[in-house]
Amino acid sequence: MKKYINTADRIVPVVFILILLVLWEYLVKLKSIPDWILPGPLQIVRTLAENAPLIARHAQSTLLECLAGFIVAIVFSFVVAFLMDEIALFKNAVYPLIVASQTIPIISVAPLFIIWFGYGMLPKIIVVVLVCFFPIAISLLGGLAAVDSDYLELFRSMQAKRLHVFRMVKLPLAMPAFFSGLRISAAYSVMGAVIGEWLGAKQGLGTYMTLSQRSFQVDRVFAAILAVTVLSAALFALVSFIERIVIPWNRFTEK
């Protein structure tokens, strides 16, 4: 139970990370490792601060691609999960395909999207959709399938229509599972966008990373990595926040 995590449990990981950072800084200084090989954490933060406006501009495009891809993936997941849940034939036909599609490495197909759709945002959004769709759809589908059949029988005995059952019973009961899938893909979505940008883009953190890396500005690469991390964490937090609003009842545990 989350409530009973005491403060010591919270402090421990923070202290641990601080120790690691101090160690890193100390080693870089002690061995006088040059910045273009491995900058220390302080230097990374300094670079991030100096380049803040530029990085923010790149982050903005990345964020836009994430959100767009994320929303498309959600809509798509809902449609597919609904159809799969209602139509057994559709599920039997499509489910194996979706699982199999996960064995294709995104990094190997992403260049094709650049060829087909150019250097704009669209190919990145597609990559984000592909990365996010699977965790969302699978968790939603799992949630729908896990609904206790006694609920369904009860509603059948009350002559509920299928759509009513879906809206009143299945969908709400599947929401906790759906949100756990959503949180996973929130973190993945940034990665998807960055991968898309690596392969060719005018804007975005991925572009900034490749440009910096080519000119051996390793501190900038790290600053971009930091920005990516912050972005992922922010999206994760956003999803958790929305979850609290959409399913407030899920905070109560079974007595």
Binding site: E153, L154, R156, Q159, L173, M175, W249, F252
Partner: protein, 246 residues
């Protein structure tokens, strides 16, 4: 006249003849108990009466109409409360009214009128997970009642409650049912609960299940809620126990 007549029901489940030939009935405002060993097909019988399942043979008549395999006439409550965790108690309870086509607001208003009678006043805005098992069963009972108020099938409604809560719920049930006077079929595997609540009891056998004993209870639903001291009680209890081969 809300009465149930079950004629010659038989059902094979998973290759096993579960229900032999079952004949049971409940007259208007009857409170009929169904006792039987676990797995003998009591829930299956209710699934058939409620129309969720078709029997292999036999018919179910309610108010003189053949309703075999048709849902919607009776309301059916189970051991699990099956309240939706996503809705508060008031919204949960008004579900049957919403399903019947009432606007949400009106359904809630109508459901609200019964909250006091069912001992739920003050709990309207709570979510099911915030309530105790007893309160949840009350809410489930009210939801059942709001679907069909005159014929209720209750499948071990108190089986998951602790002994003290169970006893409280039994006298609560007597209290409420004395006001609403429904026709009830009540499954239980608790002999004392059956003797305490029912006008009449059917004792079922092991599979293939048939009615082994039908017995009238002369002292059902005592208003005081205490132990029944009538000497006939022991005689009837023994007869039921014997039929159950305990």
């Amino acid at each position: 006249m809300p009465e149930i007549v079950v004629e010659g029901i038989s059902k094979t489940l998973g290759g096993l003849l579960t229900l032999g030939e079952i004949n049971v009935n409940a007259a208007d405002k009857d409170f009929v108990g169904i006792l039987g060993p676990s797995g003998c097909g009591k829930s299956t019988l209710f699934n058939i009466i409620s129309g969720l399942m078709r029997p292999d043979q036999g018919c179910v008549f309610i108010d003189g109409h053949d309703v075999t395999g048709k849902t919607g006439r009776v309301s059916y409550m189970r051991q699990k409360d099956l309240l939706l965790p996503s809705l508060n108690i008031l919204e949960n309870v008004s579900i049957p009214l919403v399903l019947k086509g009432l606007p949400r607001k009106k359904a809630c208003d109508q459901a609200l009128e019964h909250f006091k009678q069912f001992g739920l006043a003050g709990f309207e805005k709570y979510y099911p997970r915030q309530l105790s098992g007893g309160m949840r069963q009350r809410a489930a009972m009210l939801r059942t009642y709001l679907f069909s108020s005159d014929i209720l099938l209750l499948d071990e409604p108190f089986a998951s409650l602790d002994a003290i809560t169970k006893r409280k719920m039994q006298s609560w049930l007597i209290d409420v049912f004395n006001q609403i006077n429904p026709t009830v079929m009540f499954i239980t595997h608790d002999v004392d609960e059956a003797l305490y609540l029912c006008d009449r009891i059917y004792v079922l056998s092991e599979c293939p299940t048939v009615v082994k004993l039908e017995i009238k209870i002369p002292f059902c639903r005592p208003s005081h809620g205490r132990t029944i001291v009538d000497p006939v009680y022991g005689v009837i209890r023994d007869a039921v126990m014997e039929a159950l081969a305990i």
